[in-house]
């Protein structure tokens, strides 16, 4: 496809749009080339493009109802309005005009701190100024190389780095989306030389790809954004390609903020603000305050305060120290955990919900801990956990991007709290320990057993927590408690007296951590084998109920 073809496509689409109802237009277009045609055609006729936060039917329907029209390259678009295919040539052409820098060009969405999707407007100058800055910073370095982008062009980063910058500066882009490592390797081979625009989840896999060495000498630059790139991936990519990845930091509200390149030996890899960006620290919140020509919301003189906690270094550089709110990134998608928790609580089956990120198969994924309603409990008992979780996943899938939907689920009778009445993240996290099988506890990590009573299906032990446990230094400093995982380990140890073998837990259910268990505490531990193969356990003291729950072993251990 040549420049003349692009102008031709834009002119034809603009011709059709001249006759469409006026007003902002939803752009549900996934191919980068068709997206570029759509944007320039809309801008040519003075219309604003609305990019959906995701392609879930619920979001699209909602937005289609609020926009004047829909552009779509997806067969079977699920929006109600008849959609226009951007590459369908019409008979009329619209003359291409010089664009107005101050025109409203784009509307993007970002999850705000209240959990609602926030509408972020961008004028053409916001985009043009950013593209100019990218060219100024890295134009000479990437030279004429074509761009291979695996980043979604629906987000500001993928749109700027992967579509608008190359297009405006006359570099080739790949017309269709690229995702797989093998496609990147093959694309670079065909092109001879490229600029790679990607995200951490994709680079991590690319670095492990068996043919990654084929990229050596073929990348002029590698960009990453949408979440922190691990040092391991940064170094692996640098080793394989000879090019150190450049990370860009930004947000929909502020546009680009800063960049960095992590090199081996960097103890504290800091961020460099883009030349036109001024980053200060909001003294009240400790978070970054950004002033730049790219910030499109808030008061321009004051700047926009983000939720990124920062530490300022000399010369405007800074370090990032996580966020001050509950917004997390999964894949390259931003998620407000509080908002999804509220959404879960609207479901009939759910009384309360807590979400957190856990590591699954090397990737950060959303995990849910639920308190079910009586109706939910009944369904759980009758049909099993999977029926419940599939239903909830479907409910969330209407509104949220698939990568954000929880992949791990646990049910408890109450959400664990700390002594100060706050949610206990440590106890929540313990519910997702890999298969809940810690390495065999060392001798001193066992309770002192004072007395044991057992029959065919139950064991009850009176025990005392020893004064020192190997896990205590880190759990928690100054306030030692027995980790939930270890308590479950003790329960399974008691169960092994009945089963003859240490059970390998397949799943856990209705686990509740109430009062913490401390050094020197006396407690009772009781384990019952239920007829359905579940192991019921309970840990309690004279004045306190500590822990209870159910576990199911890998192989049912009930053999009489």
């Amino acid at each position: 496809m040549k420049w003349a073809d692009f102008r031709d496509h834009v002119a034809h689409l603009a011709g059709r749009l001249e006759h469409a109802p006026a007003g902002p237009c939803l752009v549900e277009v996934t191919d980068p080339y068709a997206l570029a045609v759509s944007l320039f055609a809309l801008w040519n006729v003075g219309r604003c493009a609305v990019l959906p936060p995701n392609l879930q039917p619920g979001s699209l329907e909602h937005l289609a109802n609020r926009t004047a029209g829909v552009l779509s390259d997806r067969p079977g678009s699920r929006t109600l309005a008849p959609a226009i295919d951007p590459l369908d040539a019409g008979s009329e052409r619209s003359p291409l005009r010089a664009l107005d820098r101050d025109a409203l060009a784009l509307e993007l969405f970002s999850s705000g701190s209240t959990g609602d999707e926030k509408r972020i407007p961008k004028r053409l100058r916001h985009l043009e100024d950013e593209v100019d800055q990218l060219e100024e910073l890295w134009g000479p370095r990437v030279d004429r190389a074509a761009v291979l982008s695996t980043a979604s062009p629906h987000h500001l980063y993928g749109l700027l780095f992967g579509v608008l910058w190359p297009l405006v500066s006359g570099r080739l882009i790949h017309a269709q989306p690229i995702l797989r490592p093998s496609e990147v390797v093959e694309g670079a081979r065909v092109l001879g030389e490229c600029t790679l625009v990607s995200v951490p989840a994709h680079l991590r896999r690319l670095a492990q790809h068996r043919n990654v060495a084929a990229l050596e000498g073929r990348c002029r630059a590698i960009f990453s954004s949408g979440g922190p790139l691990s040092q391991a991936t940064a170094h692996a990519m640098a080793g394989a390609t000879g090019v150190t990845p450049i990370e860009a930091l930004g947000s929909t509200e502020t546009g680009g903020i800063a960049w960095r390149a992590q090199r081996p030996g960097d103890a504290r890899p800091f961020w460099n603000p883009f030349p036109k960006v001024e980053v200060s620290c909001n003294p009240e919140t400790g978070t970054a305050r950004v002033r730049s020509p790219f910030v499109s919301v808030g008061a321009p003189d004051f700047g926009f305060t983000t939720a990124d906690l920062i530490e300022l270094l000399p010369e405007g550089r800074f370090l990032l120290h996580g966020r001050s709110d509950r917004i997390v990134k999964v894949g390259e998608k931003r998620l407000d955990l509080s908002a999804m928790e509220s959404d879960l609580r609207t479901h009939d089956l759910v009384a309360d919900a807590a979400l957190l990120l856990v590591d699954r198969a090397g990737e950060s994924r959303v995990a849910a801990v639920l308190v079910l309603t009586p109706g939910g409990e009944r369904l759980l008992c009758a049909e099993g956990r999977r029926v419940v979780t599939v239903r909830l996943a479907e409910h969330l899938g209407r509104r949220w991007d698939p990568v954000l939907v929880p992949r791990l689920w646990r049910t408890v009778s109450t959400l664990p709290e700390t002594e100060r009445g706050k949610r206990s993240i440590a106890s929540l996290r313990a519910l997702f320990e890999p298969s809940l099988q810690p390495p065999p506890a060392s001798l001193e990590d066992r309770p002192e057993v004072l007395e044991t009573v057992r029959d065919a299906t139950s064991v009850q032990r009176r025990c005392r927590v020893p004064e020192s446990l190997s896990c205590w230094p880190g759990h928690f400093p100054g306030a030692p408690v027995v980790p939930g995982v270890l308590q479950i380990d003790w329960a399974m140890d008691a169960a092994s007296a009945l089963l003859g073998d240490l059970p390998r837990i397949r799943e856990m259910d209705r686990v509740t951590f109430r009062e913490p268990l401390r050094p020197g505490d006396d407690f009772w531990l009781r384990v019952d084998l239920e007829e359905n193969g579940w192991i019921r356990f309970r840990i309690w003291g004279e004045h306190a109920e500590h822990t209870s729950g159910h576990a199911r072993a890998e192989r049912p251990g009930l053999t009489g």
Binding site: R180, S182, A201, H209, E363, R386, G397, V405, E507
Partner: protein, 91 residues
Amino acid sequence: MTDNCELEDEIKRLIVEVLALEDVRPEEIDAEDQLFANSLGLDSIDALEISMAIEARYGVTFQGDPDQNESIFASVRTLAAFVAEARQPVD
């Protein structure tokens, strides 16, 4: 069509293992079920993970045609058919 039974079972096991799926046993996956639009609820990160694992295990390569890949990744059955055809003949 269904003479890739063993391969299909292998791929089911691979999917459950690689994605560390909970509450799903390999034998519970229907070879004809849509992989990415049904109750398994797999997403784009999972798709990448599966394609990497299959490339590594069977020495096959997925090319860049998104339409073709979409039909290859439709179900366990279509994946198995692709692998059976593309992999190097064993001895």
